[in-house]
Amino acid sequence: MSSCKKAAIICTKKQYQEATLWERIQFIFHINICQACKVFSKKNRQLSTLCHQANLKTLPTEEKERLKECLKNEIKSNTLTLK
């Protein structure tokens, strides 16, 4: 794996606080010599901030399953009208 590619993956891990100490050290060394990765890292951080700010919500998986079940039953009873 090229070192930029590796750095990008570490950068993504860092967004979830899941990079190991060794990875973080490698990353710091890399962005000191690589401008492109530095810019990428900045953008990546910004995306994390945006996602945090937006306070995103999704329906929980079990809720989706329940909805699907409901819809399925509804579709069955509607098949005659729904060509």
Binding site: K57, T58, K64, L67
Partner: protein, 186 residues
């Protein structure tokens, strides 16, 4: 012009998160938003034969959801008495009597806009997420929005961690590209 067809089987997978966020931004209550999404899907099924195929499926569902939100507000407003506006002048104000001018919103303050901008941001992010390949979108939302641990996501998607990180990395890169025009200020 291409004709759109409805696929009610895929509604939950394709549109529920988008509709849910749209609703939650407008009613600010998780349970009510859930009910509204469900009502929207049912209403959509019921009037499926009226769907002409001019608009995309999502636009059509959003139009229904909008009606549902309006209905919701009508319902709660008919229950309570007419709202009254009460203004209490600040006791420790420098102005002697009911000088209302200092109650007016500060035009320079940005605080009021924040909530609104964040709603739009949420909708924009979901719009971008739904443009991602299905697996990428799922991995990203499990990890970022639902905050699951790496192991849990890997188990759910049946992939190994290094694979997951590559997927999330690609998803994030596409998201940056997609959000670039409106939300990134670099």
């Amino acid at each position: 012009m291409t004709k759109h067809i409805l696929h009610p089987d895929n509604w939950v997978d394709n549109h529920s998160d988008y509709l849910f966020n749209y609703a939650i931004a407008r009613v600010s209550d998780v349970d009510i938003a859930k009910d509204l999404v469900q009502d929207t899907f049912f209403a959509g099924l019921k009037s499926a034969q009226n769907y002409k195929g001019d608009a995309s499926e999502r636009t059509w569902l959003i139009a229904i959801l909008k009606r549902k939100i309006i209905d919701h507000y009508r319902k709660i407003n008919s229950k309570k008495a007419q709202a009254t506006v009460r203004i209490t002048p600040k006791a420790d104000s420098d102005f002697d009597n009911n000088f209302l001018e200092h109650q007016v919103a500060d035009p320079l303050s940005l605080l009021e806009n924040n909530a609104m901008e964040n709603e739009e941001l949420g909708v924009a992010i979901h719009e971008c997420i739904s443009k991602l390949p299905k697996k990428h979108a799922l991995a990203f939302s499990l990890k970022t929005i639902q905050g699951l641990s790496t192991e849990e996501v890997c188990k759910e998607l049946k992939i190994n961690p290094s694979n997951l990180w590559v997927i999330i990395h690609r998803a994030r890169t596409s998201l940056m590209e997609c959000l670039k025009n409106n939300w990134f200020k670099i």
